[in-house]
Amino acid sequence: MISLKDLSKSYTKVKDKVDAVKKLSLEVEKGELFGFLGPNGAGKTTTIKMMIGLLNPDQGHIVINGIDAVKNRLASKKIIGFVPEEPLLYDKMRGGDFLSFIADVYEVDSSKRRKITELAELFEIREKLGDSISSYSHGMRQKTAIIAALLHDPEVLILDEPIIGLDPKAAFNLKDQLKELCAKGKTIFFSTHVMEVAEKLCHRVGIINKGELLAAAPFEELKAKSGHLGASLEELFLELTNEIS
């Protein structure tokens, strides 16, 4: 379970203070798939970076499966799998070496390492594990980052725009994996620009704009609240973020 309470983060750009996230509070239940939507610069990645410990919040609390992720960062990182917007990989390593490195750091037992090859087969990069990452396309890098996030069987999965760059089959497989993980009781939090994916996949969606959470509810509930029962998520999103002219 993920719990964010009064989360705030601001940056100083030259002399101006920019509020990237303002008093954001939300909860994602165990076994839930939560979609985090918002226009560019809305504060999605900043929120995610605070959740995984790449940024410190100015205020507020982050609790992941009962662990205070700000005070007890290492314990929370151990149970999180993270897929960043730009895959964080070491280019000169071979794909397989990189995944072995991640397995070593997360202390994945030797007997469980065949998961690397299983996932590599699922995402169709098994044959490429012996190649240097520098030769990978963006999609292959994304697949490697996804495998790295999944291989230690995390309780909570946080993904920042994971669909971008994936081919249709890999995107389908990823969505399938996410559903399967949810069924196993894992908590999944992911940001996306692809409304269709959020609409079809997520149990609930949260919409953030200018650092503020505008809504967090199941899609059907959002439609009912807005009074547009026939509206698509895209239309609701544009309405909530005031981007309909």
Partner: protein, 550 residues
């Protein structure tokens, strides 16, 4: 003149020479790093300048004795060309042919020629710095000798601007040739290291030629005439360098024009050639990316967290030629210098030197400790450990590992590399200066602790101001102010320690063995303190999140 805009954008993008860089420092209240960096720059320039000054002074005197006034100018030209060529090879590779911004630049409405010209201008900027140090030292030698005139000084100064052109053009051809003929990218590191060794062989060869010519002739007169003949032949074999030498020594306008035209023509042809080579390389790169995998991959065995982190740091270290070149140079500099001197110095001179050393033989353990510690301490390795990771440091920052685990891995790697180098360097010096094994064993612990201290100082600096948002690896090492700050601090620290040891021996008449043992015991305390402090600093750094993100 769109290429000037491209140069400006590249420099602003790199940051170090931009106004924004200083604004950022001011905003972070870190302007204090500038005087330290200045101290480092001045120390490096003073050392380099002094060595060049000494060398040119000898060439000037030799030129007078042999009645060859062009001799020092010939070596000025050859020196700039040799250093320029070797410096230019990795620059041409990474800034011209494999620059990361090429796809962006080629998508802009700018001609390929303008893009190449902007890259050449940036490379020229780096070589110009080397050239100006050399030519300024030449002017200083002339002033010191009471020779030369204002017109000649102006010609030499202007020559400093022209001289980097030819080695740059040559490097452009050299790299382009191999890029077209073989899979240069695959053997790139080998080629660059090979280039370094070839340069060393060249220096050793020249030194050997000198010493052998002098030694084989018997009397002093014969030696000098033999040397004069050899140098005349050498000058005749390199007409462009001879034009430059004659132009600068005799203020000959015709020779000056020849050498300027030769340099400009070289750059023009290189520019033309590399514009076409770039297209070939881009084609080759994209076809390589499309190529299929190498087959089955066998999963690696579990190796544990710290070894995995060490392996990761090693991967980063060998991830590009800039890091390898820098590291290799710093690691091997002392053994290489010793080999050159042991091969090149004539036997008689070496015997005289050893006799002179005998007079200060009791100081030798301390001198060896100082020399080996400086060569293993004043490096960019420790103070760019974090910077080398660049933006990819977000990965270790997102891992469930405490900062002290990362620190431990970095410390082990540093001590394994530089500790071994200290042991080797000090052992070679011990053999060369005929110290006993016991003396070597006494200085060893102090040296290893100093290696550790220099690592902690460097890493502390890098934790405080890591350079992570770099686009070119050079920004992480060569252009990183941390290196100069580290040099400044360590030079000051070593000077204080050196003066302390000197005072203990000279004024308190303590034996060198006692001073070395005392120094070892004394160094344990700052080392322990730094270890504890740095361990906490590492925990703080790895828990503070990514410092480069907004």
């Amino acid at each position: 003149m769109k290429f000037l805009k491209l140069v400006g954008a590249a420099q602003r993008g790199r940051g170090v020479f931009s106004i924004q860089f200083y604004r950022d420092l001011k905003q972070k209240d870190m302007l204090w790093v500038l005087p330290l960096a200045l101290l480092g720059i001045l120390s490096a320039l003073a050392t380099m300048g002094f060595l060049i000054f000494q060398q040119f002074s000898s060439f000037y005197s030799l030129g007078l004795v042999l009645n060859q006034p062009a001799l020092p100018f010939f070596f000025l030209t050859m020196g700039i060309w040799a250093f320029g060529f070797l410096t230019a090879i990795p620059l041409v590779f990474s800034l011209l042919y494999y620059s990361k911004d090429l796809p962006l630049l080629f998508s802009l409405p700018v001609s390929r020629g303008q893009v190449v010209l902007s890259k050449l201008a940036i490379i020229y900027g780096y070589l110009l710095a080397i050239s100006l140090v050399f030519s300024t030292m030449m002017i200083a030698v002339l002033i010191n000798m009471g020779a030369g005139n204002p017109a000649q000084f102006i010609l030499i100064a202007l020559g400093g601007f022209v001289l980097p052109l030819f080695p740059m053009a040559l490097a452009v051809f050299f790299v382009a040739f191999f890029l077209r003929v073989i899979d240069f990218q695959r053997f790139r590191i080998l080629f660059e290291v090979l280039g370094m060794f070839l340069a060393l062989l060249l220096i050793m060869g020249i030194n050997l030629l000198f010493s052998q010519t002098m030694a084989d002739q018997g009397s002093m007169d014969n030696s000098l005439s033999g040397l004069a003949k050899m140098l005349s032949a050498l000058i005749d074999r390199f007409p462009p360098a001879a034009w430059a030498a004659k132009a600068l020594s005799r203020n000959s306008v015709a020779d000056y024009l020849f050498f300027v035209m030769f340099s400009v023509a070289g750059v023009y042809v290189a520019w033309f050639f590399s514009t076409h080579t770039l297209a070939h390389i881009l084609e080759k790169q994209s076809s390589k990316k499309r190529s299929s995998g190498r087959g089955q991959y066998r999963l690696a065995q579990t190796i544990g967290i710290v070894p995995a982190l060490i392996k990761k740091d090693l991967f980063i270290l060998v991830s590009n030629s800039t890091f390898i070149f820098q590291g290799m140079g710093e690691m091997l500099i002392l053994p290489i210098l010793l080999i050159i001197y042991s091969v090149a110095i004539p036997k008689e001179a070496l015997e005289q030197m050893l006799q002179a050393i005998e007079a200060v033989s009791s100081w030798m353990p301390l001198i060896i400790l100082g020399a080996a510690s400086l060569f293993t301490g004043l490096t960019s390795f420790g103070c760019t450990t974090i910077s080398r990771e660049g933006k990819s440091i977000q990965l270790p920052l997102s891992l469930p590992l405490s900062g002290h685990v990362h620190f431990k891995a970095k410390m082990i790697l540093h001590l394994a590399i530089y500790g071994s180098i200290f042991v080797i360097d000090s052992f070679i010096l011990t053999l060369l200066f005929q110290l006993s094994l016991a003396q070597w064993l006494i200085l060893l612990p102090a040296g290893l602790i100093l290696v550790f201290i220099s690592f902690t100082v460097g890493l502390w600096i890098d934790f405080s101001r890591p350079v992570l948002n770099w686009n070119h690896p050079m920004e992480a090492v060569k252009n990183n102010l941390n290196v100069l700050i580290n040099m400044g601090i360590l030079m000051a620290y070593m000077a204080v320690l050196g003066l302390g040891c000197y005072a203990l021996v000279a004024y308190f008449h303590l034996s060198h063995e006692i001073v070395l043992t005392g120094l070892t015991v004394f160094l344990v305390f700052p080392a322990k303190l730094l270890y504890e402090k740095l361990k906490n600093r590492a925990v703080q750094f790895y828990s503070a999140g990514y410092p480069g993100s907004g």
